[in-house]
Amino acid sequence: MGGDASFGAAAGGVTGGRGSRAALSDEALLDAVRSRDAAALEQLYDRHSQLAMGLAMRLLRNRQLAEDVVQEAFLAVWRQAGTYRPDRGTVRNWILSIVHHRAIGCLRRRELVSPPASLDDPQLGRVLPDERQLDVPDLAFQRAEQERVRQALLALPEEQRQALTLAYYEGLTCHDIATRLSIPVGTVKGRMRLALQKLRRLLASPAVVDPTSGKSKEIGS
């Protein structure tokens, strides 16, 4: 299943155990996954499984279903690492997109409907439960980044934010949202389009700046 030798070749000569992998970027790890390095997949899992699980739980509200979705998603990463396109986003985003998409699919199949989302929902934006495991700078980055995203969402007009959050965090379809809000489906889609375009502009500014190095840092990479 691919050991350190293949990993080293794929990751530009970096070999070794978990310690050396921990220093690698997500992209380097995915390169190693392409070369069938299971330990590299394990490292990616360690980095992103908690957020993946949180996202799946947010949509499904069922631990067993959420774990099934996370397992399927990481299996898809293993099988289809070669389909990742770096020009379309980060590895983290790719993995979480797979999780989100599969959780939505599971939701549709099971016809599970959860309560509407709200930015006041205590499940959104809450302090990480495992913060004691994080370094202080890491925790600061995460909180600052969460706040940046939260502020960007709050900067959207209410009706656009509502369309976006009902879809992304609650897994409702355009038709569900249209019915719930008593507006045409076309209006729902139009609000989603405007929301995403504005959010993209708002979040286009550089990521959180590392106070120790002065460099921007991607959370989770």
């Binding site: 899992y45 997109s97 980044e145 992304y168 965090y169 139009g190």
Partner: protein, 321 residues
Amino acid sequence: MSGRDRDAGRPIGHGAGPDPNHRSHPEPEIEQVPDLPPLDQAHQPAWLTPHEQLALEAHAAAFVLGALAPHEEAAFERHLHDCAYCRHLVGELSQATEHLPDLVTPVETSPQLKERLMAAVRQEPEGSREQGGHSIFHAIELPPPADRHHRLHHRRGPLFHRLPLPWRSTPPWASAALAAAAIVLAIIAMATGQQARQEALRASAYERALELAVAGRIIPLSASGTTAPQGQVALIVPRDSATGAQLVIIKLSDPPPGRTYEAWLIVNETPNAAATFQGTGGVMTLPLRGDPSRAQAIAVTIEPQGGSPTPTSQPILMARL
């Protein structure tokens, strides 16, 4: 398209449409969007109207947020395989969702989950891996194995029972490929009567064409000019780079005596000879010389017997790539 005014008979599409970076943006604050252009016609070379752009952008936004109904999502995913314009739209809009998971509270996974995952990884057969460099969305599209089998099972007609489809390792493009196979069926249905079609179904050439369609993207060539031959010609570009592109020729009338059909791949406005062929009363496949991924179009002309190094007549069939 109910309740929507549009130019009657005008092909709607954007497969070879405007450059997304230079398109005329519609009014950004328009909230109510018109109906979506028909995706099944979206590969015709035509420019989108501003309203169609608006509808398509809104549909792509709903897709990015996972808010389309399953049948709409499946149709849009199939469309994405062949439409660079919409892939660009989706890629752009996806950037906005990149940070949305940051607002979700992380949840500890059970140790058993990691064990199950790694055990499953170690049991994966080599052939189950997708090595192609396809869209990021291909990875997203792959449903769970049980569900995938369920869906494909219900989409298969009797014909598909004869296909050697690798169920346990169906690659993520299979659903689109099956749709492409359906196009082959439709072409054959148009090109032949019911009785002839039954004969074609038994023909090994047909089996070969269908297998090719399952394994690749099918691009029908359309009449170009006033003297179109009877029959159909389609280009099939395989997903697997190990096999080359093929032409599928279905019930094509013969060229004039002493002449031959010749296919050309147009690369940077230069036609490159790709294949010569005659008409057929059934279904015929033949390999294509050259790489369609580098070409902007494929065209067919009528040339002297044996073919020409450069075209000597106007194209009678053409498709933009």
